[in-house]
């Protein structure tokens, strides 16, 4: 029913825009990663593999990447541990309050990411709210200084930020489970625990995979929480990239690391899409 002209008009402008502002920039990132910086701080367009060789040889990049993945993995795990039972409670037990509680999970997302990270900083600092509270009630005498400027602070903050992201797809998956399946399981004599593990949980796996992917991928590339709360031991891979694009001025090396991150992220997205398809029942 739609003419060729209509299809052209709706297709061409978005296609052009996406090509110029998404596809070309990614390709440029690819090109940059094969260039280099001369001693005079000029980017030289001579194609070589030096950046990738350096990445493979220097352990600092690998260590930081592994640390970032370990931080992201913990954030993912904690977000799921917090988000799944919450989603389950809302979907199965909250009754008429469901929508209100759902909104209450979403509302913290409307407080800016930066502001929430900052709020944690004021809580965890050595003269922050938590430490002064502990001293006020005489639980500690000196401020606990491992709270701020540590991987712990980064994991805590990112978990706070990404728990609603993990919650949303899990909740959506749980809401889509036909309730008569759960009832049938009860009627056929399964205990609530059996019903959960044999019926409800398997059917919610696509949501879990989507939530886990969100939490892992978005925290893997984070650089603001580590800058604000991580201290030297909480540096993540994106912080290296930021410094390479700033004071250290080595865009090509930074581009190579970014491209590596892009490859990791895109492969994870493909993997999670596969898993979601495999476990979806409709």
């Amino acid at each position: 029913m739609f003419s060729r002209a209509y299809k052209t008009v709706v297709t061409v402008p978005p296609l052009l825009w996406v090509t110029v502002f998404l596809l070309v920039p990614y390709l440029l990132m690819f090109c940059y990663s094969f260039w280099s910086v001369s001693p005079e701080q000029v980017i030289v367009h001579s194609w070589n593999l030096d950046n990738y060789k350096e990445l493979l040889q220097k352990t600092v990049y690998w260590q930081t990447l592994l640390r970032s993945m370990w931080i992201a993995a913990r954030v993912m795990l904690f977000s799921l541990l917090l988000g799944y039972p919450l989603a389950y409670f809302l979907s199965f037990y909250a009754g008429r309050r469901k929508d209100l509680l759902y909104q209450m999970v979403i509302i913290p997302l409307w407080v800016s990411y930066l502001v929430r990270a900052y709020a944690w900083k004021t809580i965890l600092g050595s003269d922050g709210v938590l430490n002064t509270l502990l001293q006020y009630v005489h639980l500690t005498r000196h401020p606990l200084d491992f709270l701020l400027y540590s991987p712990f602070a980064v994991v805590l903050t990112l978990t706070h930020i990404y728990t609603p992201f993990a919650f949303l797809p899990i909740y959506a998956a749980l809401e889509h489970i036909p309730r008569n399946l759960v009832e049938a399981s009860h009627d056929l004599g399964a205990t609530p625990v059996q019903t959960f593990w044999k019926v409800t949980f398997p059917l919610s796996i696509p949501g879990v995979v989507a939530g886990a992917t969100f939490a892992f991928v978005l925290s893997l590339g984070d650089f603001l929480a580590p800058l604000l709360l991580g201290g030297p031991s909480g540096i993540m891979i994106s912080n290296i990239v930021v410094s390479l694009f700033g004071a250290a001025y080595n865009w090509p090396l930074g581009a190579a690391i970014s491209l590596g991150m892009l490859v990791i992220v895109v492969s994870l997205l493909f993997l999670s899409e596969r898993l979601e398809k495999k476990w979806s029942f409709s």
């Binding site: 929508d99 990411y113 930066l114 706070h160 994106s238 930021v242």
Partner: protein
């Protein structure tokens, strides 16, 4: 709280399990709201951002904030950026959704993935790849480059919302309009858009607030003029006062008002008073 427990008990008759879930839910909600509560409380604290118990509750920080020129400049910049980004995202995102719904073209699958990618990609990758583009093109960094960054990244939001709306849309109305002699342009404005009013408004609000908050992409595309998050970022690095809490509190209240307005709007057009009563 008691209502919650009794509601839970009714639905399954399995009270102990639901009680554990309730305790867990309360714990998660406390975790989610603790920093926000601290943030708001200490915006009234006379003596700095930390320190328990809060001392000398005061409105001084709000007074200082009102007189703070650079903050309001940055708010103005952020508003401009958000409106411009919204315009770009909708102008590109709505046709993109129509194209995905109705047209077949080579590279459609790649196109869909590319459009949606910035939604899930860490902001640093979107920001840096655009920085390289502007560098190669010799574009000077300014609010305009941030607008292009936000506009491009948030096309994904417009496209997903509008595409979901199109999937539910009954095409026979558009067909009727075309059969009755309206051209495509008229049909688009008089039939398609009115039917997609809610997804479009929803996307617009979402894009607007996301752009107001955005920092990871802006971080790399900033010129001389700061957006609000970048202004706050700059101050965080210099030392912090409850003025930051005050400005954050005001923005939070604004966001809450926006959500409530949006739900009233949605509830009204869905015509169910019950829904409205439950949400607001």
């Amino acid at each position: 709280m008691e209502l919650l427990v009794s509601a839970a008990g009714e639905s399954t008759g399995n009270v102990p399990r639901s009680r554990w879930l309730l305790v867990h839910a309360l714990a998660v909600f406390s975790f989610l709201y603790l920093p926000i509560a601290v943030l708001i409380l200490y915006s009234f604290n006379g003596q700095g951002v930390g320190g328990f118990p809060p001392h000398h509750l005061t409105l001084d920080w709000y007074r200082i904030l009102l007189a703070d020129g650079p903050i309001w400049d940055s708010v103005l910049n952020s508003l401009q950026v958000a409106f411009a980004a919204m315009a770009i995202s909708l102008t590109i995102g709505i046709p993109a959704a129509l194209a995905l719904d109705r047209a077949q073209f080579p590279g459609k699958a790649l196109f869909r993935r590319l459009v949606l990618l910035p939604l899930i990609l860490p902001g640093i990758i979107t920001g840096l790849s655009l920085l390289m583009l502007f560098n190669v093109m010799g574009t000077k960094l300014s609010l305009l480059t941030i607008v292009l960054g936000h506009g491009t990244a948030l096309i994904s939001v417009a496209t997903t919302e509008v595409f979901a709306g199109l999937q539910k849309l009954d095409r026979s109305q558009e067909e009727a309009s075309l059969d009755l002699g309206a051209n495509y342009w008229q049909t688009f404005w008089r039939v398609t858009v009115p039917n997609l009013k809610l997804p479009i408004i929803g996307a617009a609000l979402l894009i607007f607030t996301l752009s107001m908050d955005e920092i990871a992409v802006s971080f790399f595309l900033i010129g001389r003029d700061n957006t609000l998050p970048l202004e706050i970022w700059g101050r965080l690095r210099r030392g912090i006062t409850p003025e930051i809490n005050a400005v954050s509190t005001i923005i939070f209240v604004f966001s809450l008002v926006t959500i409530v307005v949006w739900y009233r709007l949605r509830a009204r057009s869905e015509g169910t008073e019950d829904f409205e009563a439950r949400v607001v």
